[in-house]
């Protein structure tokens, strides 16, 4: 009982800390591509830590649904991040990180022109 409660506390605090890092990253990062790192990976890992803390309740319904949410987010968060990154690439959003090199062949000749970003 006692170690389980301590583990729950530690996991909750870890999750809140990791999510704080993610939110700070979204404020601090310069462009969409780097903001995606913070918002999809860090915040998602914080949610996973909080879901793992639900083991401390020892309620089967809570643990099962928490596991369902974790698996669902594990499947869908990369898909959403990929769609956002692809949209940024198609709309010609610039990489504003200092010293960033676009290695995707984005500026090569022969690439079909895309619409202007508004």
């Amino acid at each position: 009982m006692r170690p389980l409660a301590l583990l729950t506390d530690a996991l909750v605090l870890l999750g809140v800390l990791v999510m704080t890092v993610g939110v700070y990253g979204v404020f601090r990062m310069p462009d969409t591509y780097t903001k995606l790192h913070a918002s999809s990976k860090a915040v998602f890992l914080g949610v996973i830590a909080l879901v793992l803390a639900s083991v401390g309740t020892r309620e089967p319904t809570v643990i099962a649904r928490g596991l369902l949410i974790a698996v669902f987010l594990l499947v869908t968060t990369p898909v959403a991040a990929h769609v956002i990154a692809r949209a940024a690439y198609v709309r010609d959003e610039a990489m504003e990180t200092p010293g960033a090199i676009d290695e995707s062949g984005h500026e090569l000749p022969g690439r079909p022109p895309t619409r202007d970003a508004d």
Binding site: V12, T57, R65
Partner: protein, 89 residues
């Protein structure tokens, strides 16, 4: 879970939720706004999971699951509409 940890976590995550709403409002491009909305819903899901951990009932998790479903559909639809001009080709 100890009560003090719960209060600290809920207070801190409410601050995080407000900060992410601010990042939605201050976003410079539409895709950054979509991304920040996605992050806001993830934080909301985490808040619901935390409440469900403390109260030991699973009703909050149903709402969290519905929010997760809606958020992924909304993100994919908005980003695809922004890039392609239509949802499904």
């Amino acid at each position: 879970m100890h009560t003090a940890v719960f209060y600290v976590a809920v207070l801190w995550m409410t601050v995080l939720l407000a900060l992410s709403v601010v990042s939605v409002l201050r976003a410079r491009s539409a895709l950054t706004r979509i991304l920040a909305l996605d992050m806001t819903i993830l934080i909301l899901i985490a808040l619901l999971v935390l409440y469900s951990d403390v109260n030991r009932v699973s009703y909050y998790l149903d709402a969290a699951l519905a929010l997760a479903l809606l958020s992924v559909i909304a993100t994919i639809a908005a980003a695809r509409y922004h890039s392609e001009g239509k949802l499904f080709s």
